[in-house]
Point group: C2
Chain length 462, copies 2
Amino acid sequence: MPGVIITDEKSVKTEVPGPVSKAAAAKLGRVFDGRAVHFVVDYAKSHDNYIVDVDGNTYLDVYSQIASIPVGYNNQTLIEAAKSPEMISALVNRPALGNFPAQDWVALLSDGLLRVAPKGLDKIFTAQSGSEANELAYKAAFMLYQRRKRGEGVEWTQEEIASCLKNQAPGSPDLSILSFKNSFHGRGFGSLSTTRSKAVHKLDIPAFKWPQADFPQLRYPLDQYQAENNAEEQRCLQQVETIITSWHCPVAGCIIEPIQSEGGDNHASPAFFQGLREITKKHGVMLIADEVQTGFGATGKFWGHEHWQLSNPPDMVTFSKKAQTAGYYFGNDALVPDKAYRQFNTWIGDPARVVLSNAVISEILNNNLVEQCAKVGDKLYGALEQLSSRFPDHIQNLRGKGQGTYIAFDTADPAALVGKMRRMGVNIGTCGTKTVRLRPMLIFTEQHVPMFVDTLEKALQI
Amino acid sequence: MPGVIITDEKSVKTEVPGPVSKAAAAKLGRVFDGRAVHFVVDYAKSHDNYIVDVDGNTYLDVYSQIASIPVGYNNQTLIEAAKSPEMISALVNRPALGNFPAQDWVALLSDGLLRVAPKGLDKIFTAQSGSEANELAYKAAFMLYQRRKRGEGVEWTQEEIASCLKNQAPGSPDLSILSFKNSFHGRGFGSLSTTRSKAVHKLDIPAFKWPQADFPQLRYPLDQYQAENNAEEQRCLQQVETIITSWHCPVAGCIIEPIQSEGGDNHASPAFFQGLREITKKHGVMLIADEVQTGFGATGKFWGHEHWQLSNPPDMVTFSKKAQTAGYYFGNDALVPDKAYRQFNTWIGDPARVVLSNAVISEILNNNLVEQCAKVGDKLYGALEQLSSRFPDHIQNLRGKGQGTYIAFDTADPAALVGKMRRMGVNIGTCGTKTVRLRPMLIFTEQHVPMFVDTLEKALQI
């Protein structure tokens, strides 16, 4: 909103969490796991970039519900969508989408999620979470792998049919999905087998014996370590090819985040991703771009993988979080399984959330929020770069240049810094083991940049 | 609604699907898998027990979106909930529930889902689908198993932490969930490893090497085969115990449906379930009742497992479908993992769907719909019993006596019969390989019984 002067509303009057939040979290804890509650929220009073807690504290929110609020609290366009007749019907008449879709379902897809489909991918399967979206993509990859192996049009054998019901080969084949060290792809049993970021996600849960490759560990600042970083990326790519050609079972798919997010905001260059596309294509491995956190504009492009500048698109692109719904895009018709009911479940997503997602998309496109995010991100990065030169011990490995507001830096004690920031009215999060990550909404403007940076500076001084 | 005369509105003027449905499904098929579409729906015109398609055909719906519509299309109580300020806020300000819950979240749970919590289970974890709910329950069972093994308060070892990131033991242990032949528990990689009903669900997808036990195959009519059926149930229980004590890896949980639904509406006696509770308790195996399809009243009790008359409740009860949201209930505090963030994901369900679920619960309780369903079910069963005596070759193994409207029967060609019924204005579904299942909504009344039964009779005559 050019010309609008934005007031700095952040104001914290209590400890964080305050006494009312603490009491509410304790009450919640009797029936629900409330141990991860940062504070309890008054969403009626929250608006735009500001989140208000039940103690009356107001925070500039650059964490955005773990990177999932796209266009601000109580956004007017979203409120209108929420009140629309199509939303009411989607809420009260929830369909089994595969069997009894509503007459407006195809238009809802075409006018919304497909309007922003990644280049080369013109089909969609809807889901309810990023974790589910990734698992559906894995299933599509596995079914395609076996279909190619079986031969087009070849019927399933009785042995396949009988053995799969016993979880045995050949019906339940030993196939794998390759992921990268420090990746996060969700918490279902399949998606968790590809997640590699933190033990707290994985410990004690059975996992498939699927492979992981090293993700490039780049040195910063990038312009000083170009040769080393190139070599590191080549090393990782070679490892990928070695794994694909030598793992104990076939690798049907490879999943990667454009920026490893939960794992510490780890970046790689377009050349790395181009190399990965080339290797996976060469070996018939489905390349899945996990855009659950990077999608919908925050990197300064609508999809994070647009930064890769590929000549061939990824085979599937998954989304969730800021989309406010979930699913995967694809282009290859062979990714539609050979029979109906193979990729299927009762609800196949939630049309109510798709209605809301379409409002998010309108809001983003009508207000050029992706372009704005790119511009604001440059300002923000510049300001942080200056700050890091003044506090080199506290702001290290600053990353996200040219990646919109998807910015992060390392610091000795991220939890302590985030705690200080919260007490000073900025709600911000960590990732990996030593990283503070910025995840403002797409409506974060240039005017918010000094509000954020000044607070960070003060927090570094105490 | 006693005293209200209900009109028989069913009316089919075209083939099914009609030309408009066919064209719409073909259009949808270009961007979405539309091959399982029965017909495309005009939800604005659908109401109560009647679903209207885009060709203007009206069907009495006893399939109810794969058993997931609880209280009718365009239910007024649900419409009011959909328009409420709390719904608008839940839609537009979707929280990361574990970190930033709304101040009304605890009340939403206490006044709704916890109001109908199964006896002995006073805590809840929310989810978005039955499949996710089951997997979360499996994870809780696995974490508890390892916690007991490790010893209370014993810290994770470095070896556990490092190995789990590689999907290797001891961090990623080899543990299993026991399920039953012909069961359906969902389509995620963990839940699918416990699903055993149809190859179309499982073929080509890697599965965990988890065990299955026989589910009792009862002979009908039950009163004529009491001794055989008791022996069959004892045989299956012995098999369960053998598996628990001899499987190649520990069995941490056992999941069972009160009535096996997708697998063919297979029933077992209370004695069987009591025996299962006893065996699982003896061996420290978490018993999970999968009430995704049986929960929320359709068996004539709010929860299907109430029919089991247990002295100790199941350890976890999962729900979805007619709840219009999903999750699991539990009682034992030790099922809350030892640390925060272990049972966690970004959204942890959807408060918007919980708001709607609470309206469903109010509607059920305020109108005594569970009691009504039990009564209507008895009438319906009686009428079908009479019909089966007249058409013994076409209605076989009638089951669901005393189980509300959760009634099913076997027939030679269920798909053909369902096709005929649709063309005569009754939307009904199949399950297993030879079964027609009834899944009317809870607002199906005694007046609908003859509308349904007369159509079935006519369909059997042509």
